[in-house]
Subunit: 467 residues, 2 copies
């Protein structure tokens, strides 16, 4: 894995930059160590590196002024949202100015009839859905964390609804972006489709702030379904669970959510969320549609599950039961980490063609059985995407080494199955060697684009690939 330099010495900010930052941001410029440390830390296992300054932007115009100032003085700029990314995606490897966009959190325009909304980049997904509830619409993308929409676009995030509603790639209609040359552009208009030139929207999504700073996002929304049912079913075998999902998709059942949790993960969830599910491989489902259609989906899928060794099909249409279930799922990572006191989590993120998923998980389970550290498996089974959560003692570096060795085997296995090293977390610092293994020469094309748009390498430098 790409190692972060263990000691980072950054030059202090040039005086004209400091003066300029003061003029633009006034009391929203922070030079104190606590604020810098908070913005240089990572939710995952990456070393903290301090930016030289943190500023809180309140408008696109401020971001434009910031970019022009920093680029004129060769100073790196690192965009920052909720800080919930887990591949070191916001670590200021070469110092510079971290621009925190979390206070740009206005919901600018809801177009209910068009099923879209324009928000500032710092709006969080839960805030957005609370705002939308009254107009009968929702925004489906739900990574575990309550991330910002700008951050989710930057890392091409997804979550439990992707099997039905897609990822951030499909969810974004257009972006307002500040480029390294200080341009304030909109990547597209509000039409639901367009064939107008290069797809700059999709180029920016997943580029982790290395090509531009996203300040506004227009998102596609969906109507809150007339009926929603959730269901839980445990299985004797992992293959039986995966086969259930594959067969349901083949029959055209539009599963809104389908999540897999292994026995270890179910044990963690039961303990953390005070539930009493069987501690076996389990599927969590959600079905959306009309009353009649949702009932039909539940009937069909429960029959398929029964044929594949599934146990009781516990379904519910009560909002409070559904909420409890999905809260438990969203907290699964914390539940896993909670298995071992004082420990930290490290989540892997492979995604493979669904025909290989059972094999990939079963082989991985075998590897984990020989490991000295506890680990759980959970995943978005309809997409072929799953995570191993290693639960590591931060005082035992040999555990991180063991996890890294196990992850190496896992990612290589996924690549051998024509899969990817990252389904939804991005590359950041943690997956750079794997990106090369996955795409080879194509990474050079990415470098050519980066050099063309950011010739001084100042936008979130050192992420995705080395130049």
């Amino acid at each position: 894995m790409s190692a972060l330099p263990t000691s980072v010495t950054t030059a202090p900010l040039p005086e004209p930059v400091l003066a300029g930052l003061r003029a633009i941001f006034q009391d929203r410029l922070h030079l104190g160590e606590a604020m810098r440390a908070q913005h240089g830390a990572s939710e995952a296992h990456f070393e903290t590196v301090l930016p030289d300054a943190v500023v809180f932007a309140h408008s696109t115009e401020e971001v434009v002024a910031l970019v022009k100032l920093c680029v004129a003085h060769d100073t790196p700029v690192i965009p920052y949202g909720a800080g919930t990314s887990i591949e070191g995606n916001t670590t200021p490897t070469r110092g510079g100015v971290t621009v925190d966009l979390s206070e740009m959190n206005a919901i600018l325009q809801v177009n209910a009839e068009d099923f879209d909304v324009t928000v500032q980049a710092g709006v969080r997904r839960e805030q957005l859905n609370e705002h939308l509830r009254d107009v009968g619409l929702f925004f489906p993308i739900d990574p575990g964390a309550n991330a910002t929409i700008g951050g989710m676009a930057s890392t091409r995030a997804s979550g439990t609804n992707a099997v039905r509603y897609g990822t951030m790639r499909e969810a974004v209609l257009n972006l307002r972006v500040i480029t390294p040359d200080g341009r304030d552009i909109r990547t597209a208009r509000r039409a639901r489709k367009s064939a107008a030139g290069y797809d700059l929207t999709r180029l920016m999504i997943g580029s982790e702030g290395t090509l531009g700073i996203i300040t506004e996002v227009t998102l596609r929304l969906h109507g809150i379904p007339e009926a929603i049912m959730s269901a839980v079913c445990s299985f004797d075998t992992l293959g039986g669970a995966v086969d259930t999902v594959v067969q349901a998709i083949q029959l055209g059942i539009p599963l809104a959510r389908v999540e897999i949790l292994d026995d270890m993960q179910m044990k963690a969830v039961n303990a953390w969320s005070k539930l009493d599910y069987p501690e076996k491989t389990t599927l969590f489902f959600e079905f959306h549609g009309s009353e009649r259609y949702v009932e039909e989906q539940v009937e069909t899928v429960s029959a398929i599950a029964a044929e594949n060794g599934g146990g009781e099909f516990r379904w519910s249409n009560l909002p409070e039961e559904r909420a409890k279930l999905w809260k438990a799922r969203h907290e699964a990572y914390y539940a896993a980490v909670g298995l071992r006191k004082g420990c930290v989590g490290w989540a892997t993120d492979v995604c493979v063609p669904i025909s290989r998923l059972a094999e990939c998980i079963i082989e991985t389970k075998k590897d984990l059985a020989t490991a000295s550290i506890p680990a759980t498996i959970l995943g978005h089974v309809g997409d072929g995407n799953f995570h191993v959560v290693f639960v590591l003692d931060p005082n035992k570096p040999e555990e991180a080494e063991e996890a890294e060795a196990l992850n190496k085997v896992l990612v290589q296995r996924a690549l051998d199955m024509d899969g990817t090293c990252t389904g939804e977390h991005g590359i950041g610092l943690g997956k750079q060697d794997w990106l090369m293994a996955e795409l080879g020469d194509a990474v050079d094309l990415m470098r050519m684009i980066k050099r063309a748009l950011d010739p001084k390498d100042l936008f979130n430098p050192g992420k995705i690939f080395s130049l």
Copy 2:
């Protein structure tokens, strides 16, 4: 609109290029005027410009050798599929070598369990669906023409199913692409989602051969639904038809197809396809799902239509009736052109937010009422995308001028509504000024990317924008 130079003098191919082409392609190198004229012509109203040579590629390796040869000698390369694009997208503005990929038409690998298929770029959409029928899968994207998959990716094509299944943007999992520096890359792997670096797949889709030559495409497929029903319903008012669609979408009805045809277009369709529909604004629907769910959708939508002034809701689940209906729809362009003997068609292609669609079409109808040339309206109403088909006498240049003036009003109206100048046809030669009007400074970003990847401007030069 960007005018094509009326006389194009190209230098003859350098002798080493000719020798190289002969060595690579042998009897698949064509220098005769008939073959060159065929590849220099456009289905639409653009002037024919002859390439200096035409070659038929049979393998990716041949394309690599061709690119290396041409780039070494500053010779343009223009990829060519079925030649059915309509914005002059394959016109060899500066001469050079047109590489026809239509004989690279092998279906390489069907992965039925993963709902994907890998094809060579020259495979045509109808050929693909015939091949897939036996495994119960289908590929939904259906522009009017029987285009090649490579060409459809290049122009970000869509069609009647986009409202439910998306466009080429959503349909492609990965591409094999030859870049101007002769690299043979794959843009992604076969996982259904990935957060691995810049989205080169989407960058290539819609780039019209200006950044790379697509030789293979891996596509997402869908299961053929258990039940399919089609329906036709005519309306007293255009607003009533559009409102029916908006309300159905708001209720979460997953319309598989919903097409609007105005009274003129219905007259043309009746004459061309020997049908007897009322010659009023009409919606063509298709519903996919289980038997019961399809029935429920038809019930709900027919009730909505009745509330909006819809007439008889003529539905059918008979395959031959559905086939007849959609054949008539796919031939609508030819039906329109058939309204006037010896004439040619010119299709516009705006797409607006659906809340503005009724207004946009009604205003356009008013403009057309004052015109001296016949014109029809048809469109993918669920996406907000519609076409005016002008039927022009090729011997009367003043008619083309009138159409251009009407189109100018129409595109400006769409842009004023936050729409796009092209929903699915691409920019090519015909929409370059409008691309600037639509995206402004963002087009400079496209130019920067083009210069970085194709510094000599040899890949399909002169398309999308001028450098």
